[in-house]
């Protein structure tokens, strides 16, 4: 592009991000080799899985944890920390 043809984009041409939390739509589930599976019958709703998820991929609902597989990278902290075995690990693509 010739110099004089480069449009001046105003605020759009400034390297800032103006949409808070926009990363929520990014699919990081593609990184996952294993996935957490929730078994509500064993769940005591202690919130441990929700609190310890580094990617905020577990939403807390009145019914307990809800796993967001778009954000879950499969670190398995939730499975490791669940005190009642209400979260188990399943191989991705199995």
């Amino acid at each position: 592009m010739r110099e004089e043809e480069i449009p001046y984009k105003g605020i759009e041409g400034i390297p800032i991000i103006r949409e808070p939390g926009s990363a929520a739509k990014v699919n990081r589930g593609s990184w996952r080799l294993v996935r957490p599976v929730h078994h509500s019958e064993k769940c005591t709703k202690c919130k441990i899985c929700y609190i310890y998820c580094p990617d905020a991929a577990i939403n807390w609902t009145p019914d307990g944890p809800e796993i967001n597989l778009t954000s879950c990278k499969g670190c398995m902290i939730c499975v490791e920390e669940c005190p009642t075995g209400a979260l188990t690990e399943e191989k991705e693509g199995a």
Partner: protein
């Protein structure tokens, strides 16, 4: 002041989403997620170059708060500017919070941090300490513990110990700035959030150092982030304490520490640390623990 008594008290509101390019199981990411629960959306996170710099990646960010990344060595001075900018424009109720790694805090940004603390700027400075320059692939910093292998302190024939330099006692240094200084752990979120809540209410500088377990650098299975964080506290590797007005307060006291072995064997960075190295590390930990016990509830700095 908002006070939390148990995990159940921790707010269900998040100002942090998924979708970042942080490693699966990233400790520092979790730290920021938790911190924002207390800080809320009217917060500016000032970040220094490091792992967390890659949380936002244009055009997306996992933050529902504001963020400024300036460079690696100037988070505290950037924060001071933001603080006064906000105050002058009538936005004094917004939080200015630094989220910086240990390399940026202990080493290259120390002058900036020390000045902001000495001036008692109304800033919360959180150092997520992964005990290395993590984002460049795990190299030595002055926060790296004795005996840790890093890419710039590899074990070799001449030096089987890896890092032979004892890490800085940053809490003591910050305590000597007459500010609020505290350690925190991901495995004790109630304690961490209470410290943040307290810092938020203070009319001055607060320094909170969070052990930021690093799955890639410390070389452990990402599922173990919380287990390792907890063990660090139980072994005395990362005691939980705070210093205010020069007085020491040990937050988690134990009659007996677990041996450091248990902590070391979970992580690749300590693999092949010779027995004399383990012994020396244990000595250093015991000395520090004894000092904390001795000065607990007393003038420490």
């Amino acid at each position: 002041m908002q006070e939390f008594k148990s995990l159940k008290d921790i707010p269900e509101q998040d100002y942090f989403t998924g979708g970042s390019s942080a490693c699966a199981g990233c400790g520092p990411s979790l730290g920021l997620k938790l911190a924002l629960k207390v800080l809320g959306p009217e917060t500016i996170i000032i970040n220094s170059a490091g792992c967390m710099t890659l949380l936002p990646l244009y055009p997306n960010t996992p933050l529902k708060a504001s963020w400024i990344h300036n460079a690696i060595e100037n988070a505290a001075s950037t924060a001071a500017g933001a603080r006064h900018g906000l105050d002058n424009l009538g936005n004094g109720d917004m939080n200015v919070v630094v989220y910086a790694g240990d390399g940026a805090t202990y080493d290259i940004g120390f002058a900036s941090l020390s000045a902001a603390a000495a001036k008692n700027e109304r800033i919360i400075y959180i150092c997520y300490n992964n005990q290395s320059y993590g984002n460049t692939g795990f190299q030595w910093s002055t926060a790296t513990p004795y005996g840790s292998e890093t890419k710039t302190t590899p074990r070799g024939k001449e030096n089987p110990t890896g890092n032979t330099i004892v890490n800085k006692d940053m809490l003591k240094i910050m305590g000597a700035h007459r500010v609020y200084a505290a350690t925190a752990s991901l495995a004790y979120p109630v304690d961490f959030l209470n410290k943040l809540s307290r810092a938020k209410e203070r009319d001055g500088f607060s320094y909170i150092e969070l052990l930021g377990a690093c799955t890639a650098g410390w070389n452990y299975d990402p599922r173990l982030t919380i287990k390792i964080s907890k063990l660090a506290v139980r072994c005395g590797m990362w005691p939980l304490y705070e210093i205010e007005h020069g007085m020491l307060n040990l937050n988690k006291d134990f009659n007996e520490l677990k041996p450091i072995d248990e902590f070391l064997k979970m992580q690749g960075r300590y693999r092949a640390l010779p027995p004399e190295g383990v012994e020396r590390l244990q000595e250093l930990i015991d000395e520090h623990w004894a000092e904390l016990k001795e000065y607990n509830k007393q003038r420490y700095v």
